[in-house]
């Protein structure tokens, strides 16, 4: 086997492996979408059916029973607002930690991350009581505040690592040219790290979109997002897999499309700093 043939074989094997892993990861989503077009009886069939007569009855049922757009609008509003707020707080915090490091910076970062290790249910009662006292139960504001706070540690960490990869000399050069702090941030730092910031923003958005614990516990109807809608389709008595798959597909679709459109930024952000 020549070197060229060997390389080609290696490339084919790697490609096959990558495809196999991609299919494995994608299969649950594919199965969910497929199940959403089955009847409840087909959804439970054993062995599982790949060929069946598709039906739209599950989607029609959801449209008739629940106001999908009300839940979707709540999801969009809560996720985007919480993400923007989170970024507004995290960028200055990460800037300070990355470029003006003190002996307590590492400890502060670790402490921030350690708050993510606390099981949410451990603070359910105090947060519920706070929300009740301030009249925030079943309001979007409650979820926006909670989501901003729970995602802040990860977002600060991510932006901090992106900022750390930027040479301080670039910022110093801007300062020598007379740039103010604001100009330094907006005209130099943010454009350089926009790939990293975009991927952080997208990750925060996905985390907010998928969060279920707090949305199920703090909202009931007015502020309930799509995660609450999905949970309402699980039934203790009666078959529900097909309807649950349909509502899950509808819940995943917007964020999936958004992710698809912005995947270029995501990949660039995730590989940012990997090659210097």
């Amino acid at each position: 086997m020549t070197l060229q043939q060997s390389r080609r074989l290696q490339s084919v094997l790697l490609g096959t492996l990558a495809w196999a892993i991609a299919i494995l990861i994608f299969f649950p989503i594919f199965w969910m979408v497929l199940t959403s077009f089955k009847t409840e009886l087909d959804a439970f069939a054993s062995p599982p059916q790949f060929i069946f007569t598709p039906t739209l009855e599950n989607y029609l049922h959801i449209e008739q029973r629940s106001g999908y757009f009300h839940f979707a609008w709540n999801s969009v509003l809560i996720s985007f607002t919480a993400t923007v707020l989170c970024m507004l707080i995290a960028i200055p915090a990460a800037y300070s930690m990355a470029f003006y490091e003190t002996k307590r910076t590492k400890g502060t970062l670790l402490w921030m991350l350690s708050t993510k290790m606390l099981p949410p249910v451990g603070v359910l009662m105090p947060i519920y009581l706070l929300a009740k006292t301030f009249g925030l139960l079943d309001t979007r504001a409650a979820l926006i505040i909670i989501y901003t706070l729970i995602n802040l540690p990860i977002v600060v960490w991510m932006i901090y690592t992106y900022f750390k990869d930027i040479p301080k000399d670039i910022l110093e050069a801007a300062r020598l040219d007379g740039a103010t702090l604001w100009q330094e941030m907006v005209r130099v730092l943010l454009p350089i790290s926009k790939g990293g910031l975009a991927s952080t923003l997208l990750l925060s958005l996905i985390l907010c979109w998928n969060e279920a614990f707090w949305s199920l516990n703090l909202t009931s109807s007015s502020a309930a997002p799509l995660t609450a809608l999905i949970a309402s389709y699980s039934s203790p008595e009666g078959l529900f897999w097909a309807k649950l798959s349909a509502v899950s597909t509808l819940a995943c679709a917007p964020i999936l499309i958004f992710g698809w459109i912005s995947q270029k930024q995501l990949v660039r952000g995730l590989s940012f700093g990997a090659v210097k």
Partner: protein
Amino acid sequence: MNIPVKALCIATCMTLSGISLGAQTLTIATVNNSDMIRMQKLSKTFESEHPEIKLNWVVLEENVLRQRLTTDIATQGGQFDVLTIGMYEAALWGAKGWLEPMTDLPATYAIEDVFPSVRDGLSVKGTLYALPFYAESSMTYYRTDLFKDAGLTMPERPTWEQIAGFAKQLNKPEKEQYGICLRGKAGWGENMALISTVANAYGARWFDEKWQPEFTGPEWKNALNFYVNTLKESGPPGATSNGFNENLALFNSGKCAIWVDASVAGSFVTDKTQSKVADHVGFTFAPHQVTDKGSAWLYSWALAIPTSSKAKDAAKTFSTWATSKEYAALVAEKDGIANVPPGTRNSTYTDAYLQAAPFAKVTLESLKAANPKDPTLKPVPYVGIQLVTIPEFQAIGTQVGKSFSAALVGQTSVDKALADAQTYTEREMKRAGYPK
């Protein structure tokens, strides 16, 4: 714009704002099952009859609903005006004063028409705390075609030993046909609901008169040995992951010859859109053994009003409407008589209903016979057939359910599972301060 037109506009605006200010919004927390979803659909009739009341529905998964309601009611959160709860919650929350008593019901409501066993299950010291929407017992479902082919006859009131015998004969795993399907998924409302009725039938009880658990007694040993051996011999593979829905799917796809479970399944197994065996299902009473006391369970989903509600009168108006004879008539008119919420009222069981719902006769008699106040052969200090209405039961029931599930899967022996159950329950009851 001239003056009369302006005046008209102002008057219209004032009237509309007056209406919107006057309208009360009721937030109703409920579960996702067919009867509740139907209620949501038909409640438009209620809203048109009561324009001053607007309904806001919150549908939650059963466990999430319990958690949400418990949090809300314990903190007096006031997020909900009408709660969908079971007998377990009605008894505990009613006793704590968290629910509004359902007194002074209108004469047209005809509370005497509601089955006494259901009323008792939702009452504390004679005071009713929730209005039953539907009630269920347990019963035996079996495949008439398979019984006929095998030359078997199902008795009207079978024993568990007879059921095990039939299951053994009809068990043909090579054809993916299993003799019997029973709940195996661990949980106080899952496997323990069924196992408690098996234990009751074998003469066992959860606690003696002094609140001492009795798992190490011969009755529990016989019951659990029977349950484990029967499922191992004639049950489907992976029975420990099967709850109500999984067994329903197995039965509907023709893989179970016998299934003992909730009477509410009657409408699912006879529904041709979701059952492949709809024309071949027979119904009979839940099996008994040394006694028929407590051999069939009793459960009800009911509507209750938390004391934290700010719209108690409107909530009561809605709750009485949704559980009334008038509502049953509306369901019969719109969706057919077989879909009337079962198990709560004598008046539901007309000849037309009994004819339309072939399982209704067994349900009716099972509900009438069920007595949560006297559920076992020997006397007990608690109320409840498949559950014990004490706050500690959820945790105890689930832990015991896990031990029994481990015995079923073969991780531990029946004796060890019972000993573990005894130790855990004794410890929890002691910690909770029993006997009280």
